[in-house]
Symmetry: none
Subunit: 166 residues, 2 copies
């Protein structure tokens, strides 16, 4: 029935460890969002999961911005180009480029989702909550909504990273 005390040690059982990882990453991100909101500060976290190869980064603002920074760098092109005169190497390069393209496309889709969420934040579904007239309550509802959206974004990122074939 859950809730047992857990020894602070590596969980050897694979399924249990992964389940714990998922739950705790989610919890961590929530905590980060909370301290960010409550204390009006900036914070971020990075988790390197060997199973995913790709680090998980949060929260939203800095996360998005740093992701964008990464997009701006497309390294390795010039360095590799000199190898293109060898035919087999050329084919290999094409393969690499295609893979890069695929990856970029997927990342781009992820970005689009993020942008959509931010637009949703901007314009706001506040009209849903027309019954609320008190300003404090309204601000609170908005905050909760933002939290909800942030959590959804983070969950989406998890799902995207997990997607087979990425």
């Amino acid at each position: 029935m859950g809730g047992k005390k857990v020894k602070l040690a590596f969980i050897t059982k694979d399924t249990a460890r992964k389940a714990t990882y998922k739950k705790r990453v989610k919890g961590l991100m929530k905590k980060l969002n909370e301290i960010t909101t409550l204390c009006g500060i900036k914070a971020c976290g990075i988790v390197f999961n060997p199973d995913d190869l790709e680090p998980q980064i949060w929260p939203s603002n800095e996360g998005v911005q740093s992701v964008l920074n990464q997009f701006l760098h497309v390294p390795e092109f010039d360095r590799d180009r000199k190898m293109l005169n060898h035919e087999s190497y050329l084919k290999e390069k094409i393969q690499k480029l295609n893979e890069k393209l695929t990856k970029k496309t997927k990342e781009n889709r992820k970005m689009e989702m993020t942008v959509q969420l931010y637009r949703f934040l901007e314009k706001g579904d506040i009209t849903e909550n027309l019954s609320i007239v008190d300003q404090d309550d309204l601000a609170y509802v908005i905050n909760e909504k933002m939290e909800e959206i942030n959590m959804k974004m983070m969950e989406m990122e998890i799902n995207v990273q997990r997607a087979p074939g990425l």
Copy 2:
């Protein structure tokens, strides 16, 4: 007594906010430590506190660095390239090599991005980018960057199409 439910909103009272900050940062770092141990992964957290000037980092700077260094130790690209001297060997093994190189390049690029993120967070453009807190500005920046990304993608497609004819 304590334990009251707290609204997720900026704590305006100075002393209360600082007290909460202190407690929650401690809690966060503990959580980070736990997930690191339990799941056998690497993680780090950075909290920027305007009052402190120095960001709170877990684990230590050196710890974060060493974490990243681990990932930087991907096998050398040049070492594998030497095998390409003998064309016959290359043709025999080209398929395997393609896969191997592609995989390593991907890993390498991911790590480069990670390092960029770390640098971005640690020293770099934090102050620059922190100025963007307004949602409108953020959305605008995102849109701008997405255009740049699309341009890059187009460039990449052109390169891919050109390559076979070179």
